[in-house]
């Protein structure tokens, strides 16, 4: 059973963390993963940096640019992760844009993910329809889950379609926006979380985008299976460093 599914079987709300691989320092990837696991984080999205991350806000853009400057590449990330499963047991997801994966070769990319022990991918610019038609069988061949996003504007019919194609979880974007930390969720967000909860999808939902603190985390998990923190974590990393990660996690829950 895929580690992601196993995780959702546990009777608790998930806390997942996103960071850009290669940032702040090129070789931070493994130590960040270790700190996250030891702080009790349930899942990690490892960002494969891209030159033109058009779904991301300024914080993730900046960390991606820095990672590329530090020398991060697809091959480099795979080498860093080669033996990751010796120590890291929580589900690992690679989140990245389609183009670097295409250049690497989608099949070779999937193959490597499987070898390393990656559980799934999030590719913001790979629409569900294209995935469904062209890539699903390939992903499945290598035991990789592919997770899709939904937003407050996603029509119900499409949510149902995504629910059908999805495995792992559905990434519920908190509001129509690029990534970036928010202080609070208002009623439009909670209404939306509620609405989706009432749809009783077969795939668990995890809220992402705009989660920055314990308040937004708690609102998010009230109506979903978990939450993903990205920009707020990256900002913390830049300021407080890898060694203090556990204090960030404990501030959330």
């Amino acid at each position: 059973m895929n580690r992601i599914d196993k995780k959702f079987k546990e009777d608790k709300k998930l806390l997942s963390i996103y960071f850009s691989a290669g940032h702040p320092k090129l070789e931070d990837t493994l130590s960040i993963l270790e700190k996250l696991q030891s702080s009790g984080v349930d899942m990690v999205e490892i960002g494969l940096p891209f030159s033109d991350p058009l779904a991301d806000g300024p914080t993730i853009q900046k960390s991606s640019t820095q990672a590329l400057r530090n020398g991060m590449t697809t091959q480099k990330l795979f080498s860093q992760l080669e033996n990751v499963r010796e120590k890291i047991k929580i589900p690992l997801v690679i989140m990245g844009y389609l183009n670097p994966m295409m250049q690497y070769g989608i099949e070779k990319f999937c193959q490597n993910c499987q070898k390393i022990g990656i559980d799934g991918l999030i590719i913001p610019d790979l629409p569900v329809d294209v995935y469904h038609e062209n890539y699903q069988s390939l992903f499945e061949k290598y035991g990789l889950y592919n997770m899709f996003l939904i937003t407050p504007q996603t029509p119900e019919s499409r949510i149902n379609y995504i629910d059908k194609v999805s495995n792992g979880f559905i990434y519920m974007v908190s509001s129509a926006s690029v990534t970036g930390a928010k202080d609070k969720f208002g009623s439009p967000q909670t209404d939306y979380f509620n609405r989706i909860a009432k749809m009783k999808l077969s795939t668990p939902t995890v809220v992402g985008f705009g989660i920055s603190n314990s308040e937004t985390y708690l609102t998010a998990i009230k109506h979903s299976s978990g939450a993903i923190i990205g920009s707020a974590f990256i900002k913390f990393l830049e300021k407080e460093g890898v060694e203090n990660i556990s204090s960030f996690i404990s501030s959330i829950r």
Binding site: F50, S51, D52, P53, L54, A55, D56, G57, Q61, T65, L68, T73, T74, Q75, Y97, L98, N99, P100, M101, M102, Q103, Y104, P124, D125, L126, P127, V128, V130, F148, L149, I150, T151, Q153, T154, P155, R158, V173, A176, S177, V178
Partner: protein, 393 residues
């Protein structure tokens, strides 16, 4: 072979809509409505009327006699430089603003490189009284200052894109982010045949008026409605798409696309996508683009702000791959020289983008009986300071 878009939004292997889910409703709304709306009689009437009384269409098809004599061939210029705002870009913005109004949008965003598309967008927004925000690379804001001034005069807000190469590609990223953040009230007027389906096809259709007119104008002047060659510069590829459109499937017509070689194809400072690009995804479209072996998009370079885009529209990628079109790349220096040559031979100061196209005359031979149509895509007013500095005039 058919060179038009297919029902799935592809030109051969290229095209599609590789967009974040956040953009799905916006793009789907467009995709599901653009053909129906632009096919309505009231739309057509308003579009055609504005092209006539506001843009100044038809633009002339001008036989350049001095140039023709010099190069011993028959050279026609399709005078898009005479369009209101000074380039072909406005054909598309007129179309899109009418579409946006019918979709009930009340806020417009756009990206711009040379500033021509930004000006054309700001113009139609002023015409309709709609809010307008234009994203422009910080570098381009400096080198195309006159167009920044025009956008401000027209009441648009110009937002500086400071990431990456600080040029068109980055301005486009910023515009897409804005659209993600404002999915309901905003229409994004893309300025070329790039981006997710249906943009490439939609923009090409709006620009197709160029070859539509060329056909009857050639018939009038030459007694036949097709030339031997159609030639245009390719940034994203909209002026080229407009000129090629009605000749795409007419094999009697040779298609020539001119890209910017910048400081030379092998210099590392270029924007010659067909020569240097590989298949990939940029701004929601599968196409040819310049990128590292790792799939990071290259920061392109050209002296011309409208050509330094690391990709081309999917139609052009297909024309290249299928060998339907010849692709030629022209370095900065030749383009600049041609800016001066066209000015002093025909009294027409072209945009530096446009000047690239003419340089083909020094690179490739044409027969004395051959008819060539160049797209004179824009005027050089925006580039005067670049020209003056370059030639120390």
């Amino acid at each position: 072979m058919n060179y038009n878009v297919n029902e799935k939004g592809y030109y051969g292997d290229f095209g599609g809509a590789f967009i974040p889910e956040m953009l799905y409703p916006n793009v789907a709304e467009l995709r599901d409505n653009y053909l129906e709306i632009t096919g309505r009689a009231d739309f057509k009437k308003e579009f055609e009327n504005l092209l006539k009384v506001y843009v100044g269409r038809p633009t002339p098809l001008y036989f350049a006699s001095r140039l023709s004599e010099k190069y011993k061939t028959k050279i026609y210029l399709k005078r898009e430089d005479l369009c209101h705002t000074g380039a072909h870009k406005v054909n598309n913005t007129i179309g899109q603003i009418l579409l946006a109004k019918r979709l009930g949008k009340n806020r417009i965003i756009a990206e711009t490189g040379a500033g021509q598309h930004g000006v054309a967008t700001a113009t139609v927004c002023a015409l309709m009284g709609i809010e307008c925000i234009v994203y422009m690379g910080e570098l381009d804001i400096h080198r195309q200052a006159p167009n920044v001034a025009r956008m401000k005069m027209l009441g648009a807000e110009v937002r500086s894109a400071k990431s990456g190469s600080k040029t068109l590609k980055d301005a486009t990223n910023e515009a897409i982010r804005d659209w993600i953040n404002n999915p309901l009230d905003t229409h994004y007027i893309i300025g070329s045949v790039v981006g997710p389906h249906p943009y490439p096809d939609m923009v090409a259709r709006f620009q197709s008026v160029i070859s539509e007119e060329t056909k009857w104008q050639l018939e009038e002047q030459e007694g036949r409605d097709y030339p031997n060659h159609v030639i245009a510069c390719v940034g994203g590829g909209s002026n080229a798409a407009g000129l090629y459109y009605h000749y795409l499937n007419d094999e009697r017509v040779n298609i020539i696309a001119i890209e910017a070689a910048g400081k030379g194809i092998d210099s590392g400072q270029s924007a010659a996508t067909s020569a240097l690009g590989k298949e990939g995804i940029i701004h929601g479209s599968k196409t040819l683009l310049m990128q590292s072996s790792d799939g990071q998009i290259t920061e392109p370079y050209s002296i011309s702000a409208g050509l330094d885009y690391p990709g081309v529209g999917p139609m052009h990628a297909h024309l290249f791959r299928s060998k339907r079109a010849e692709f030629i790349s022209i370095p900065d220096q030749e383009a600049m020289d041609w800016g001066l040559t066209l000015s002093q031979t025909e009294g027409i100061i072209p945009a530096i983008e446009t000047a690239h196209a003419f340089a083909v005359l020094d690179v490739r031979k044409f027969g004395p009986e051959e008819i060539i149509v160049f797209n004179c895509s824009g005027r050089g007013d925006k580039d005067l300071s670049t020209y003056i500095d370059y030639f120390k005039l």
